[in-house]
Amino acid sequence: MIRWWPVFGLKRRLTEQKEYISPVDLRQPKTGIFNRSLFVYIVDVGSSNALNFEISALESPQYNIHRFGIFLTDSPRHADVLLILGRPVTKMLEPLKETISQLPKPFYTVTIDDHPGQPGLNGYPELPNHIAALTGVPSPGQILGLLLDIAKTKRKES
């Protein structure tokens, strides 16, 4: 017998009410137009994969990013923020440039340099609207805090 999934799903409340704080300040003034919705496209240019896992964790019900109007999109053409994971491998510089050229204006780029100082990787090329640069492997809560900063909303504990 097939159990009815939605009932199972609704029984547990997993979403957490927390204050999410960004580890860095924004480097640019932000526009107000992403107040209610922020679409994020993610591009991995050479990360060590921990960041990919963190993004997956960010999608978990504990964070429930959709309640803030934050969505991960499947195309850079729908994105407001380009989240660049890792420092670029030489071969990924070209695709990175191409991805940025596909973003509709206005947009922001955010970099997360997971292992600063690691040899064999390039520095970042000139990025347009580079609003924040994180280092290390930030937790999903920190990434969410940054995205909320960009979107200009802050969810306080309730």
């Binding site: 017998m1 097939i2 963190e54 978990s60 019900p61 695709p95 997971d114």
Partner: protein, 415 residues
């Protein structure tokens, strides 16, 4: 059984890095024909960055490129699917988009620095990389870590297995449009990562392992609570897993997707859940140091569903194993630390670790306290061949299940 993990080649000679009943062995080729014994010899020998790169021609056949930047496969990597519409005739995988040259960058670095770099090859396997590397170096410079270190390493590898397997099943459920299941499993996945942090201070178990010792011993006061949490994860997961096995929609999608026979798997030199899902008992669990090893879980079908089942049962096993041993960990402090004799400055070493996706091997040469040579043999590289073979003759829709079910990562395959 013997599995060829890698080839250690110098201009003069060539040695085979073999896992023989759970023991890593390095043997010289000595004129024997290794291609006959090991089907994966030529794969490892060539070590191409474009996997299964043979073109397919025919009327209407074209190369459907998926990557390097897509939302479906978030990592930088590229698939070329030869097709005439729906059916995948051949899958070529280009892993060069993530080639960072880490093994090369490790040269002339001190073993300690190289260890941190090993953790960054593929951070979701950080513990496996770190342990394999440190064991190889320990063998090279002849230091033996304490029992306590060995035990903690074993446990941390198990906790790495838990979150990685949860991740794979989360991705599979997500790809099969089982959103409720996916959401619950991802909650468990996040829970496992938080447990990692409580245990080791890092969500990805980084910076805890060191050469011959641990950087910090997990705090004993929390252990009981953490053990309970692992049991809770196991309980909740079992519930979800049983639930999901009643969902024909989910099972139908995974069933007979990306099927590999035991012969094919052995031919490709696969290890880990992929091999075990084909019904082959591998000796990987015997690579565990000191603590008694876990039971080996096998399934016969060799498809995505079987791989999922193997991983699911391993999650539950590992959780119980962790909970039991964590509770017993206070007794480890009684174990006597070996007197630290000064390590050698030169030597060669090799080690294999049972990573979540299969055998992780390291071969190192240390010279004058500097890394002279590092060869990294990851499970994802043969795994990519398995993905390529598993995708053949399927349709596009099956792509995510097949890819995710192998649990391979571009970061791990391209070093």
């Amino acid at each position: 059984m013997k599995v060829l993990i890698g080839i250690v080649a110098t201009p003069e000679n060539e040695r085979l890095f073999i896992l023989d009943k759970g023991k890593p062995v390095l043997t010289a080729v000595n004129g024997k024909n290794p291609e006959e014994t090991f089907g994966n010899y030529s794969i490892l020998k060539q070590h191409l960055s474009k996997i299964n790169d043979e073109s397919m021609k025919g009327p209407g056949v074209f190369k459907f490129r998926y990557g390097p930047v897509t939302a479906g496969v978030r990592e930088a990597g590229c698939f070329y699917l030869y097709t005439y519409g729906e059916k995948i005739l051949r899958a070529t995988i280009d892993i060069s988009w993530k080639q960072r040259g880490i093994a090369k960058a490790m040269l002339d670095k001190s073993p300690e620095t190289a260890l941190t770099m090993a953790e960054r090859v593929c951070s979701n396997f950080a513990m496996s990389h770190s342990v394999a590397f440190s064991r190889a170096v320990e063998m090279a410079v002849d230091i033996s870590p304490s029992l306590q270190t060995k035990n903690w390493r074993t446990l941390l590898i198990e906790s790495e297995r838990i979150y990685n397997h949860l991740y794979v099943i989360y991705k599979l459920a997500s790809a099969a449009a089982q959103k409720v299941l996916a959401a619950h499993i991802s909650a468990l996945f996040e829970e496992a990562l938080r447990l990692n942090e409580r245990l080791s201070g890092s969500r990805y178990l980084m910076n805890i392992n060191s050469l011959g010792k641990l950087n910090r011993i997990p705090e004993i006061s929390n252990i009981e609570k953490i053990a309970d949490k692992y049991l809770a994860v196991a309980k909740q997961f079992t519930k979800l897993y049983k639930h999901s096995l009643r969902n024909y929609n989910y099972l139908d999608r995974l069933h007979s997707a990306g099927t590999l026979t035991a012969e094919q798997a052995e031919e490709l030199g696969l290890t880990g859940p992929t091999l075990r899902a084909c019904g082959v008992v591998d000796g990987l669990n015997d690579t565990t140091e000191h603590l008694i090893s876990l039971p080996v879980i096998t399934k016969k079908e060799g498809d995505a569903l079987a791989r999922m089942e193997v991983r699911a049962e391993e999650i539950v096993n590992s959780c119980h194993y962790l909970a039991d041993h964590l509770r017993a960990s206070d007794s480890w402090y009684d174990a006597t630390e070996k007197d630290t004799k000064s390590p050698n400055a030169n030597g060669t070493g090799y080690a294999v670790v049972n990573s979540p996706s299969g055998a992780m091997g390291y071969y190192v040469e240390v010279n004058d306290n500097k890394m002279q040579r590092v060869d990294i043999f990851t499970p994802s590289y043969p795994g990519m061949y398995a993905v390529s073979q598993g995708l053949e003759d399927l349709i596009f829709t099956d792509f995510p299940f097949v890819f995710e079910s192998f649990g391979v990562h571009f970061a791990d395959a391209a070093i």
